[in-house]
Symmetry: C3
Subunit: 371 residues, 3 copies
Amino acid sequence: MIETTTLVDQNCHGVLRTELGLGTFEAQLGRTAGPPAAGTTFFDTQTGFAVRRWCPPLLGLEPHTSPAGYLARRRELGVLEAGRRLLRGTGVTTYLVDTGLPGDLTGPEEIAAAGAAEAREIVRLELLAQQVADTSGTVDSLLANLAHAVHTAAESAVAFVSVAALRHGAAPAGDPPGPGEVRTAAGRWLARRRVGGRLTDPVLVRHLLWTAVATGLPLQLHAGGGEGRRADCCDGGPARIAGFAAATAGLGTDLVLLHGLPYHRHAARLAAAHPHVYVDLGPALAHTGARAADVLAEVLELAPFGKLLYSSGARGLPELHVVGARVFRQSLARVLGGWVADGSWALADAQRVAEMIASGNARRVYGLDDT
Amino acid sequence: MIETTTLVDQNCHGVLRTELGLGTFEAQLGRTAGPPAAGTTFFDTQTGFAVRRWCPPLLGLEPHTSPAGYLARRRELGVLEAGRRLLRGTGVTTYLVDTGLPGDLTGPEEIAAAGAAEAREIVRLELLAQQVADTSGTVDSLLANLAHAVHTAAESAVAFVSVAALRHGAAPAGDPPGPGEVRTAAGRWLARRRVGGRLTDPVLVRHLLWTAVATGLPLQLHAGGGEGRRADCCDGGPARIAGFAAATAGLGTDLVLLHGLPYHRHAARLAAAHPHVYVDLGPALAHTGARAADVLAEVLELAPFGKLLYSSGARGLPELHVVGARVFRQSLARVLGGWVADGSWALADAQRVAEMIASGNARRVYGLDDT
Amino acid sequence: MIETTTLVDQNCHGVLRTELGLGTFEAQLGRTAGPPAAGTTFFDTQTGFAVRRWCPPLLGLEPHTSPAGYLARRRELGVLEAGRRLLRGTGVTTYLVDTGLPGDLTGPEEIAAAGAAEAREIVRLELLAQQVADTSGTVDSLLANLAHAVHTAAESAVAFVSVAALRHGAAPAGDPPGPGEVRTAAGRWLARRRVGGRLTDPVLVRHLLWTAVATGLPLQLHAGGGEGRRADCCDGGPARIAGFAAATAGLGTDLVLLHGLPYHRHAARLAAAHPHVYVDLGPALAHTGARAADVLAEVLELAPFGKLLYSSGARGLPELHVVGARVFRQSLARVLGGWVADGSWALADAQRVAEMIASGNARRVYGLDDT
């Protein structure tokens, strides 16, 4: 039996602080902006079934308890106590928390306390830029403040993350934009945006990415397919990412691809082709429940074993932290255990690779043992 | 053991009325326009092997009987009796029949009678447009007749289907074309086409799609990868479909993606992202035989269980109806049964999901219980 | 148990003639231009694990011996004797050798002698063009010499191979370039290149491909995904190949797609759609080790069984020849044996298909029994 002693969740988010009814709980399971189709429910998904498989036992119920029964028990315990039990049931020892999501979510300290674990912050580049823009009146101050903010964040954060990188324009490919181009784009953005307005300008996104690359901190990139909600944007994720990966080769900054299905094999191939490219396992496993072992096995085809990182990608519900971690551990044990059983791998190698993927690779890439 | 009591085939075609020799039978198994490569036969495919696996027992022979032996027995019984035995061996209770294919194929009533089942019609938009054009002399009459024909068809048909949607131009993405644009395209088509000429103009295809969307009837879309014959056209299927899915969100008309390999996972992702998008399982399973369970499992990763619909996609041979249905039932039982066996799913949930995919979802989407 | 009596490796390369230290051996396992990422090793990949699984027993060691222990034994035996033992452990009876790689690699005769097998040559088009350019002073002589060289090569070679086809421009799609276009491109290339300079001009690459097609000899095409090293180039491989496949249909020249992950299913679909398109299994299996059976099963979904060809794609290390062959035979036995065990296939059919993929298809396509 392949076991892992520690687990680093290299990309997750906080959980909601309020009690949830059946409808609001269900909405967190979906990956669309709106409600489910008439006659269907988000509970009838791999994510919904996995929540019912793994979470009820942590609250003293049978696996596969009905949604209503589970939520009744959850309310009985209260959101705080249920959250504590769930997070402590993940086995996660270190959470790297992307704090850039909207909504009333717990921060790294609260997650650490609730989960009896450590937590570090990942800074979301687009949010940082928006905050800087809210307090900058001129192009000069915007650009200076942006550079300052990114470098200051790099001193305490463990990584940067960008979601806009692959959504807006063919931006990431190629080299950093020139100073004049950046100034023009900054002026245009300042002139048109309202306070809190989102950053979507391709030139500024590219400038922001290259500013982050210059800090040397690992850069996590949401890529096409990471979340269903974005399935309607251009499907060119892997091709675009490939261009940015080529452009940043040899600079000393690691890229971590937060790819999900159906591009997990493309991501694995990029990790094999570029020393500085790493692959996240989060969305590909956490959303696929009973199929997660098969998806994990597909990523393990081409990706070097030292280039894979676990995450849950969880947001909003502590249940999603549980599902991510449990599904990952079970999948890893099944896949690697199967290869040991059929003679393809030696047991000692399998155990070593399991520890690498569960925590060792993340500790090395993010320097978690350095401080 | 997961069982399904009824089965709706949500996209199929009629069968040939004439006796078939070995060569003409084999040609129906291929998915190329021409003969197989020298030294090869279409019997040596998953489809060919699946026909030999499932059909001989329905005609009183051993599984895996040789093609020649099987066809001898088929001729002995006669095309009518063989067709009755085969169709009644599918377990299909309702056939939704796309009547827009060329060739001397049986219609919905004949399929229903031969198969002791119900049958409803799916109207192929391109054929409807061609028929209207054959009898319309001016742009005004063409456009008026087209609108009338689509709305009349919507009163009796159970769905529309389009194959041109994804083949001709980047059409589907974006909004309906403007009136002037449509008139120009209609004039051009009328001026150049011969009687029976096919509709390939991107503007008219788009106009036709949006006219169909306006009726509220479900719209089935052949997408890239559905059939090998079209593999030489642009591979942008999923990206194009994604654009059309985004443009039609919230209008109240459901889209059913007739995607096949290798885009089944993309289709599943779109079904997760959009409430009005559904995924067909037909070509992905019927063409892959011994691999169908694995392909089904891949679709079940991201697609909500209420968004999946069974079809055979069969055309020409009753044997293809049999293969579609048998391979689907066996795959469903294996995949869901496996998840029950390993504790991932509860048995009651698996049974419920099996009924949804086999018939419940189709009954709801096509309103089969409404009349 | 499914067995194959002979094995044709339809695309491989020679092995290095010199003793290798741990670092140089490891470099041959990677698929990047440079060293592995800090803290990682190319031994921690499916390829590395597969070498340790299959090769030590051929040199008298236990499976899964450590890299250092294995290389010590390899040096003890000497590069010649180790190479002989390894190549004779592959079970390959005929090697088709692409001789166009740089480096001090053994040629077809040496591989045949070391492996106690037959060997034939595959000519790399780009290298041929570069050699011709090195000795041609004018556009006229370059084009005449090129035509002559291709047709001369066709008399002795068993196939052509091109790697540039899918890398440089949208070239392969569409028809042959016109004479004026070719002359201009040839002049530009002659004027700018240095001796030994690589051929990357899209027009000349296209001209070269069509010149090769005219000989009627099978043409092997490296496609997107074949090797990780090229993952940074445009990902449009399958779409481009589809265009070239459509353009060359019916000309009597077979195309063999050297596709690898993640495009193996696209390649299988093209082989189903076009009588003249064949699919290579090499990189998809040899690089995925413990996962190779699953990848093979995916290719077997859509590809007609008469259209699949085994290769190792091995280069540099005899160990990679071993891994390719062993992993292929084991995968074939597992996948086809599994389908026999579950009743999907008859044993006699499985045995017949196994022989086709292992050698029969290659013998037919390359005319290996003709001489």
